[in-house]
């Protein structure tokens, strides 16, 4: 392979990777805009992965062993399960922080531990026959992309999950910045007491935002897990790594889903770089550190810039209880 071909396959793979980041980051942005610092996102993405695998397994079990699998249903059913499982993760988080007034950090970290543990336990015990099918069916959204040369290879070879992820990010951006619901959501995240006194149901907004965010993050987890059987993601360590970096992308993109699209791509590039360089372990592991080094740089840069407009939602991480004194 010459350099050009390597570059094309690198960029193509980076976009694929960025999809997982983007789902996680979009979900987390919706969470954080409501004032929920949901550190359970890595766990919620694992929940989504479990939902995806479980959905596929159930569909396979309901189909006779000899009958062909419906290419549409074998993707749709896992996605629906992932949405439900991810939403459930968001529901757990909201229940603890909104209804029980628990500390958001503790709840989030616990949720991550729970999600990773439970999902790994069940996924590893799952029979794997015919499970590669979903991964195969969701490969390319546009079958004839090769006709367009490198452009098609990079931009049109992707799974429809990728285009869905971008569409969701754009839709989220529009809803947050242009609609009344978005204004109310931002108010809840900025100053819950102000929103409350303006007659906005803070608890409802936080519940719904967290559940929707969880559902979106869950799709990301499922995409990763279903595609993994094709052997594409063997260089990453686990979904939780994606989840943590998604949290960082949220900061990097200054809580703007449109920037998150590009930030996800950047972090994806850094994540897959190790598999494109040859050398001893030191070099490989050195490159593997890049996303985390970038995270630190992001934090330094954002703290130096310290602009009033690019700040985290002011009530981020603050549990709201009206009768607090």
């Amino acid at each position: 392979m010459n350099f050009f071909e390597v570059s094309v396959s690198f960029l193509s793979l980076a976009i694929k990777f960025s999809t997982v980041f983007l789902f996680g980051a979009t979900g987390e942005i919706i969470n954080q805009k409501s004032g929920h610092l949901n550190m359970g996102t890595p766990g919620i993405m694992y929940f989504g992965a479990l939902g995806g695998v479980l959905g596929e397994r159930i569909y396979i079990m309901c189909t006779p062993a000899t009958a062909p699998l419906n290419p549409f249903l074998i993707v749709l059913i896992p996605v629906l399960f992932a949405v439900i499982f991810g939403a459930f993760g968001g529901l757990i988080f909201s229940f603890f922080t909104v209804t029980l007034h628990c500390n958001q950090n503790v709840t989030g970290l616990t949720l991550t531990t729970l999600g990773v543990g439970v999902s790994c336990l069940f996924i590893s015990g799952m029979p794997m026959d015919r499970m590669a099918e979903a991964g195969l069916q969701m490969q390319s959204a546009f079958p004839d992309y090769q006709k367009l040369g490198w452009f098609g290879e990079i931009f049109l070879s992707q799974s429809w999950f990728t285009y869905l992820g971008i569409a969701i990010a754009i839709a989220t951006a529009i809803i947050i910045s242009k609609t009344k619901v978005g204004l109310n959501l931002r108010a809840v995240g900025e100053n819950a007491a102000a929103a409350d006194s303006a007659g906005i149901n803070v608890n409802a907004y936080r519940y719904i935002a967290t559940i929707i965010g969880g559902a979106i993050a869950g799709i990301g987890g499922a995409f990763y897990e279903l595609d993994k059987t094709k052997g594409m993601f063997n260089i990453a360590d686990g979904i939780d790594a994606f989840g943590w970096l998604a949290l960082c992308i949220v900061i990097f993109s200054m809580w703007k889903p449109l920037i998150a699209i590009f930030a996800s791509f950047g972090f994806a590039c850094l994540s897959i770089l190790p598999s494109f360089v040859t050398g001893n372990d030191y070099i490989t592991y050195g490159f593997k550190m890049l996303p985390y080094v970038a995270t630190l740089l992001v934090l330094i840069i954002t703290s130096v810039i310290n602009s009033k407009k690019a700040q985290a939602p002011a009530s981020l991480g603050v549990t709201y209880f009206r009768e607090d004194r």
Partner: protein, 561 residues
């Protein structure tokens, strides 16, 4: 024909509280409160801090739910569970801590959460109608406190409220802004609105209200007509016994310059310039008041003098009144004493030259302990290169009382003795703590300042705000400071304790201490201080003699530039 007057009264009545009780944990915030507010009047709820004024009105605004009792509006019992319900009954509240979204514009804040869509023109029209000055496109974080308050009121009026509750609306305003606010309140009353004002300021109550309800320790005392009462009577109703409302300002000559500050600039924690080009002298035996809108650099100025802020320009020169005083080990070690002796700063008790070069450490120690080595002149010390702890040891005490009273001065989870020891833990023998002296000091403060505490082993956080304040101020005064800096020392205190603190400061002044007093109540500042330094936006807009200027002139200085 008995009914018409009765009918008239029921028609006039707007809101009625009946046996409202609200309990937080073990604290009874409101106990069996019953009274009524009429339509179209300016009604003041008067009471000291902690008397349950805000809690009661929060029940009406849907923030709190009462544990017992009923609320009636226009004679009908209502159930208000949220601010939304309150709006449905045309009741809106402007809280003391504004409920605004900082990154939103004024217009966005106004339209937040409302079902109907407003236009900017409607906002402008409403502002013109009542005389508000508001830029609908300004973001809240760029607004002054007064603008934020205006926005809060406009926001509430836009919800079509008939009853507007204002919680301590004048606490953060300059005299001019207060006058403007009162004009607006009168305009609103003309328009038929009912305005309920929560306050503890007697002069403002007299100026603006029609009727006054007085609360004391969570209980309703009485309602009086403003036209039939006076400040003295109100104060007595508020406190429950006769009180003396005079602040003493002892007239004594000042001694020399204690602190010389020149071109001092400093940044705050966010890296923004907080104070710039501050220059003033502080004399012995004087109280220098610092007036200004909150956030004008008061906190940073005090912190900079105390050495807590490192990023500064300019000089802070402290003159330690040591002339003809014996040197001590209090802030000098043996090496420094030898160096100063070599420079010829000392003479011996008998007037002869002080030469320590041939003396052993033991001999020098003995001489110092016998107070044989005497300073020729006052010590001139540049504070800029001193650590906070060295500055403290020089006798420059910061009794900073931030909004969070426990934050900078006391540790809530420790008892009174341990909190005394925060200032003396370095004293003791062979690494063991001496607890006897702090215990005696704690007991002395409790006795002298009438601190209400079960005993000196009680955790500080379990005491009420006023008592915590007394401990903090008492501890700082006990160390015989040369310069005492104190900010908002009476915030949250009842009238009695406030006057106790004022008198303590005056006593301290008589003993020769220089006092910097940052206050928020202009009346108090003008009555207590010898000179008044007005800060505006981080620089000095004037240093005035409070006996020679009016409140309005100071107000103008507060907002200049």
């Amino acid at each position: 024909m008995v009914s018409p007057p009765a009918l008239l009264i029921t028609f006039m009545e707007n809101i009625r509280f009946e046996n409202i009780t609200k309990i937080f944990g073990s604290i009874v915030a409101n106990n069996n409160v019953s009274f009524s507010i009429d339509t179209g009047e300016v009604f003041c709820i008067l009471g000291e801090n902690g008397s349950g004024k805000t809690t009661l009105l929060n029940v009406l605004a849907g923030i709190y739910k009462q544990d017992e009792g009923r609320v009636y509006i226009n004679g009908k019992e209502v159930n208000i569970n949220s601010p939304k319900d309150a709006y449905a009954h045309k009741i809106g509240m402007v809280h003391q801590h504004f409920k605004l979204v900082n990154v939103f514009t004024a217009f966005e804040n106004i339209s937040l959460g409302s079902k109907t869509k407003y236009t900017v023109q409607q906002v402008v029209d409403l502002c013109n109608k009542y005389g508000f000055k508001l830029d609908p496109f300004k973001r809240v974080y760029d607004m002054s406190v007064s603008e934020k308050q205006t926005l809060e009121i406009v926001k509430t009026l836009f919800r079509g409220v008939d009853t507007l509750i204002l919680d301590e609306p004048t606490a953060v305003l300059t005299p001019q802004e207060i006058t403007h606010l009162f004009d607006i309140i009168r305009n609103m009353r003309k328009d038929g609105k009912t305005i309920v004002i929560i306050t503890h300021k007697l002069n403002e109550v007299m100026e603006i209200s029609d009727r006054i309800a007085i609360l004391r320790k969570g209980e309703y005392i009485t309602t009086v007509k403003t036209s039939e009462t006076n400040e003295k009577q109100l104060a007595e109703l508020m406190v429950g016994h006769k009180i003396d409302l005079n602040i003493h300002r002892s007239k004594i000559p000042t001694t020399g310059v204690r602190l010389h500050i020149e071109n001092l600039s400093a940044v705050n924690r966010d890296g923004e310039t907080a104070i710039k080009d501050i220059s003033f002298d502080l004399y012995g035996s004087e109280i220098l008041g610092i007036a200004g809108i909150s956030g004008s650099g008061q906190k940073e100025l005090l912190e900079t003098i105390a050495g807590l802020n490192r990023e500064t320009n300019g000089s802070i020169i402290f003159t330690n009144p040591k002339k003809e005083q014996p040197v001590t080990f209090f802030h000098k070690n043996i090496k420094q004493i030898r160096e100063l002796a070599a420079e010829g700063k000392f003479h011996l008790k008998d007037g002869s030259r002080c030469d320590l070069t041939n003396k052993s450490n033991k001999e020098v120690t003995e001489m110092v302990n016998n107070e044989e080595i005497i300073f020729y002149e006052d010590e001139i010390i540049d504070l800029k290169y001193k650590k906070p702890i060295e500055i403290r040891d020089l006798g420059i005490k910061l009794s900073f009382v931030p909004e969070d009273r426990l934050g900078m001065g006391l540790v809530g989870s420790m008892d009174l003795i341990d909190n005394m020891m925060l200032r003396s833990f370095r004293k003791g023998h062979a690494g063991l703590l001496d607890r006897k002296k702090p215990a005696a000091l704690a007991q002395k403060i409790v006795d002298e300042l009438e601190v209400k505490t079960p005993n000196i082993h009680t955790q500080v956080k379990k005491l009420s705000g006023g008592n915590i304040q007394k401990i903090l101020v008492g501890r700082e005064l006990s160390s015989r400071p040369k310069i005492l800096m104190t900010a908002y020392p009476v915030r949250g205190l009842d009238i009695n304790s406030s006057y106790l603190i004022y008198n303590l400061l005056d006593e301290q002044k008589k003993k020769g201490t220089s006092i910097i007093f940052v206050g928020e109540d202009l009346d108090v500042l003008m009555a207590l201080c010898d000179r008044l330094l007005v800060l505006s936006n981080g620089h000095i807009s004037g240093i005035v003699d409070p006996t020679k200027v009016s409140k309005e002139e100071i107000g103008l200085l507060m907002t200049r530039g």
